[in-house]
Amino acid sequence: MVTESSTAGIGSTPAPGDTKDTGPRGNWSWLRVTGSVGPLGIATAVLWLSIIVLLPLAALTVASFDEGWSGFWNAVTAPAALDSLRITVLVSVVVAVINVVMGTLIAWVLVRDDFPGKGIVNGLIDLPFALPTIVASIVLLSLYGPQSPIDIHLNATQPGLIVALAFVTLPFVVRSVQPVLIEADREVEQAALSLGADNWTTFRRIVLPTLGPAIISGGGLAFARAIGEYGSVVLIGGAIPRETEMASQYIQKQIEIDRPLNAAAVSVALLAISFASLLVLRLLAERSVRKEQESR
């Protein structure tokens, strides 16, 4: 995102075709390069992004249209493929919601409360994220699997998927809310309380608006991570088609049974979902930032 600045930076060059001296809000202003890096820096960034992200994505998309639009459409709308996408999105939404609630709570406790062992808890938050996901799967399987020591059997069930995904996405909301909470102005809260607002009202009217953007972006990241997750669900999920088979497992299966087209097509569908969710996230974040600025 190139932000517009009204003053042209060093090394800014008029974009090709930019003959009219248009103002900062003119027709071509979005093409104008601003900032101190100049075209070379931007070219490097774009080239690197292309090599790492854009070209492979383009290649995948091309592969998924090997048999034209109808081939792609058939691959994505095969009942088993649709079901796997549906399950993936459904489970990921549930996981994101759980994360939003629990993550905010944990962040709150870590910032506002003090208790022995707090440092350990704080360190543990990142552990599920740092663990290799397959290890997460083994960990959960040993506790909730068929030989469960506490007699809770989540193997090959949707709750098992939810637990696995909640495990690996735990840090997202916590880590995005924590810094905001630390920075938050406590005097406003105290003022609200002294004016007779109860705790819930204070939280709803004062705290939540401040934390909103952080919670949304954390939840969105958790969602995006969950829909693409493979390692953590591979053991505990059971991969039962139409019940607990995630899209990533469906893709893997298509590769194994030598149907690369199906795999590519479902991958593209999954990418589109991730992309859309990230886009919505951006828009929400921008809107809340704007509202924040307007309210000042």
């Binding site: 208790f115 062992g117 707090k118 360190g123 059997h153």
Partner: protein
């Protein structure tokens, strides 16, 4: 932050790191898919062989390689085994995985490499047709056989859930489907009867999961999915000897499984690879296979281990159905083979 915690920030991070490390150390105990088999004093002085095999013969190779290392030819030879779904492994080798010797579940997986120019066309020209060991299709049930499963018809009882792998990636799955097909169609004389049975078997009522390999199917079954597992007899024997709570039945009419081995033309260690392949057919090699639960091809060794391997009333073979080329084309070709179409329709 008025109160002091009992840990200074610095000690805190150390504790956190230690906790994390301990957790990882306690949980990190999963083996890799590829490993050195045998490991019996083989130091690599005799070179290294890369073996690409289907999912279940690992216990057999573990025993065989130990015996091989005792021979003059096999001294100090390290065998690196990679195991996975047969079709998947075959495609990997075709796509350039550096294998010296391959062992797949079904012949077409080797034929794929012959077509790609990686395996000599005469690989199965010897007396045993490139098949050093085999098995039969067995029905595996929970210990005590609570559902009273005895024969193929019992699998179609209402509510019986059957675990069998995906025939597009697994060789085991092909054998598993061929066994009732041959039994119901009288060795292919009445194909429709066989296909009717399979349509009922692979319907959503009975086959709910599609593991990618025979080994994965066993794991799925052991973790509590399903009432019946269709599997290689050797896989069932291996699992029973492990103490898993299962038992297996060799149905009165079943199918002979023949698992081929071939050496790659491109092998950098051709001489040792050939020596290893030839060793599989020797008395020592055959005994090692038999003790791991695989049916040996050497009649003498087979007689010695007779008690482990009951003889079914009727054992159909792939030759009875016209050989792999015919069977693969007519039954398993994606989108056109009759079994492939049935399976696709049921799992779409």
């Amino acid at each position: 932050m008025a109160r002091k915690t009992w840990l200074s920030p610095r000690r805190r991070s150390v504790v956190a790191a230690l906790t994390a490390f301990a957790a990882v150390a306690l949980t990190a105990c999963g083996g890799g898919a590829s490993d050195t088999v045998g490991g019996s004093g083989a130091d690599g002085s005799g070179g290294t062989l890369n073996l690409y095999a289907y999912a279940v013969p690992k216990p057999g190779f573990d025993k065989v390689v130990v015996e091989f290392n005792k021979t003059e030819q096999g001294k100090g030879v390290v065998v690196n085994g990679a195991y996975g779904a047969s079709g998947d492994q075959s495609r990997k080798v075709k796509d350039g995985a550096a294998a010296d010797i391959v062992n797949f579940s079904v012949e077409p997986d080797i034929t794929r490499l012959v077509d790609a120019g990686l395996v000599d066309e005469s690989w199965n020209a010897d007396a045993t047709k490139g098949i050093p060991f085999g098995s039969v299709v067995a029905i595996v049930v929970r210990k005590g056989n609570p559902k009273g499963i005895k024969d193929w018809d019992d699998l179609l009882k209402p509510g019986i859930e059957v675990v069998t792998p995906n025939p597009f990636s697994s060789g085991s799955a092909k054998w598993n489907l061929l066994a009732p097909y041959a039994a119901k169609s009288e060795g292919g004389k009445n194909p429709q009867a066989g296909l009717d049975y399979l349509s009922q078997l692979v319907s959503k009522e009975h086959v709910k999961v599609q593991p990618k390999s025979g080994r994965e199917a066993t794991e799925t079954f052991l973790q509590g999915t399903g009432d019946v597992l269709l599997s290689y007899e050797n896989e069932a024997i291996f699992s029973e000897r492990n103490g898993d709570p299962i038992e297996h039945i060799v149905p009165p009419v079943t199918f002979k499984i023949e698992n081929p081995v071939a050496v790659l033309k491109s092998s950098k260690n051709q001489e040792k690879a050939v020596a290893f392949r030839d060793f599989l057919y020797t008395a020592e090699g055959q005994k090692a296979w038999a003790s791991a639960g695989f049916r040996p091809v050497d009649p003498q060794v087979a007689a010695d281990f007779g008690s482990d391997f009951p003889t079914p009333q009727k054992l159909w073979t792939i030759a009875d159905l016209g050989g792999w080329q015919t069977v693969d084309k007519e039954l398993f070709t994606p989108n056109t083979g009759s079994v492939a179409v049935i399976y696709d329709k049921a799992t779409r």
